[in-house]
Symmetry: C2
Subunit: 248 residues, 2 copies
DNA sequence: CGTAGCTTTGAAGATTTTCAACCTTAGTGG
DNA sequence: CCACTAAGGTTGAAAATCTTCAAAGCTACG
C-alpha cells in the first residue's frame, strides 16, 4: 500500500514533443522548419541516477535543460558551506534561465530521482533568437514568470508561519501534479524531509512534527513519501489563514 | 549633525545619459541612430512625491522605469492584505521587468522619497527588440541578474539570523551607494525602520534592538536615518558568521 | 537478519515576536 | 515663539514559535 494504482510515477517517460518543442517553439509561433532546426540541436540524456548533477554553480552556461521525467532540485551554496534549495522542478520545466545574466550558472541542479532531460545548447538558442523574433519573446516570458515565482517564494518565507509554509508547499505540489494531468490529491513526494525543510527554511524536526499534526487533524494522510490531501479547501485555510484555527 | 557634508543626497539629479541610454543602449552595442530612436520614445517624469505609486499589481505592463533620482520600494500584496517588500531600487535601476511574464505587473512600486524616473514604453522596447539583436540580449542579461539577486534574497531569508540579515542589509546598501560613487560608509537610509523590518522579514522592534546593539558594539553609528559603518570588515564578520562572536 | 539512513518524538533552550509603555522629532497652530 | 500632536522609533517584559539536542523507531537494502 501507499502507492495507489491511479498514481502515475514521475519517472514514467514523457514524450519529447511535450517538452522543448511544445513549450518553446510552438508557443513561440515558430513554423515547422524553425522548430525542426532548433530541435536538431537538442540532445537527450540517458536516465540520470538520483544525485546526478546537471550543472553546478560557477560553470559557464552551456545548455538549458527541460525535464522529460523525474525531478530536480536547484540550490545555492553560501561561502560558508550552507545550502539553500531555491526550487524544485518537475517534468516539462525549463532549467538554467538564471544563468543568463552572467552566462554562468549561479546555482546547482541535482536529480532527486532517476531523471531524463533534453539539453538545448545555449549558443543555438542564442543564435536562433536573433533570427526568430517570437523565440526571444517567449524566452522573456519564461524568465518573467520565473521572477514572479521567486517573488511568491519571498512572500512565503517572509510572511508565513511554519504551518502555513508547509500547507502552501503541499498545495504547490498538488497544483504542479494536477497541471501535469496527475492526481491533485494523491502523490509521492519526490524529495526527502530534509529537502522540504531546507526549501521552507525550517528544521527537519519541525516539518516532521507538522506532518504528524496535519495527519492528526485529518488534513492529510501521509506514509513516508506518499501523500493524500483529504481536503484541498481545508488545506487552503491552513495555508492562508492560520489565525482562523483550522477546523475541518 | 548627522548628515555630513560629503554625503550626497539621493535626490540630487542624475543625468539621464546615466540611466536609459547608458545602461540600455550603449551596453547593448547600439549605434547612435538606434539609441536616438529608442530614447525618443522615452518620457521623463516630474519629481514624484514620497508615497507616489509608479505601478500597481495587476496593471498591464505599459512602461519600464529607470530611476533618475530618489528611491523606490517594490512590494507584493497577499490576498489577506499583508505586504512583503521585495526590493529597494536606487538611481540607475531598471524596474518593471518582473511584469514580462504575463505583460502585467505582479508587484507595486512606490516612491520612498521624492523621485524622478524615465519611462520607456514597453511596446517601443518590444518592437525595437525585433530589430536590434543586441537589445534583447541585454534585456535577458538584466532579467537573469534579477533572478540571481532574488536567489540571494531567498538564501538570506532562509539561512541567516536576524543579526546577520541586518548586517547583510547594511552591507548591501553600502555596496549600492558605493557603485553610485557615493560614500560606502556614510549614508542616509531611504526607508523607515518598518520598511527595513518588512524587507528582512523581522519585527520592527527586532530591527530597532539590533541597531542599538550594533551601535553598542561600535559597529555603526546611527542617528535616525543616518548611518556610518565604522568597520566594513567587522560588519562582514557579523553578516556571514554570527557564530564566531563578532569582536572588533 | 543486521545495519545504515531517514524519520519521528520528547524535552530543553534559543531566538524572535508581541504587547505595552515611553521617548523623540518634526510639523502645526495658537 | 512655544506648546501640542501625530508619527515613527526605542525599550522592557512576557510569550510564542521554532530549533537544537538526544534518543528511539522504522524501512529498505545488502
Amino acid at each position: 500500500m501507499g502507492t495507489s494504482d491511479n498514481i502515475v510515477r514521475l519517472h514514467q517517460r514523457v514524450s519529447c514533443d511535450e517538452c522543448s518543442l511544445n513549450r518553446f517553439c510552438l508557443a513561440a509561433g515558430l513554423d515547422a522548419q524553425d522548430t525542426e532546426r532548433l530541435s536538431a540541436t537538442m540532445r537527450h540524456s540517458r536516465p540520470l541516477p538520483r544525485g546526478h548533477r546537471l550543472f553546478r554553480s560557477g560553470e559557464p552556461l552551456e545548455h538549458l535543460y527541460v525535464i522529460k521525467a523525474g525531478a530536480v532540485k536547484i540550490y545555492s551554496s553560501t561561502a560558508d558551506g550552507l545550502e539553500q534549495i531555491l526550487r524544485f522542478h518537475l517534468p516539462g520545466d525549463l532549467m538554467g534561465l538564471d544563468a543568463m545574466g552572467e552566462e554562468r550558472h549561479m546555482s546547482t541542479a541535482v536529480a532527486l530521482e532517476t531523471t531524463m532531460v533534453c539539453m538545448l545548447p545555449w549558443h543555438a538558442i542564442d543564435t536562433a533568437m536573433r533570427q526568430i523574433p517570437g523565440l526571444q519573446h517567449q524566452l522573456l516570458r519564461f524568465v518573467g514568470n520565473e521572477i514572479a515565482t521567486e517573488n511568491e517564494r519571498v512572500v512565503l518565507l517572509g510572511q508565513r508561519s511554519a504551518r502555513e509554509r508547509l500547507a502552501a508547499f503541499l498545495l504547490y505540489l498538488s497544483a504542479q501534479f494536477k497541471r501535469r494531468g496527475l492526481s491533485a490529491t494523491e502523490f509521492n513526494l519526490p524529495m526527502s524531509r530534509q529537502e522540504i525543510a531546507n526549501y521552507l527554511a525550517l528544521a527537519i524536526e519541525t516539518v516532521s512534527r507538522l506532518f504528524t499534526s496535519f495527519q492528526g487533524e485529518g488534513l492529510v494522510t501521509i506514509e513516508r513519501r506518499f501523500v493524500r490531501l483529504e481536503s484541498l479547501e481545508a488545506m487552503r485555510q491552513t495555508a492562508y489563514s492560520d489565525s482562523v484555527s483550522a477546523v475541518s
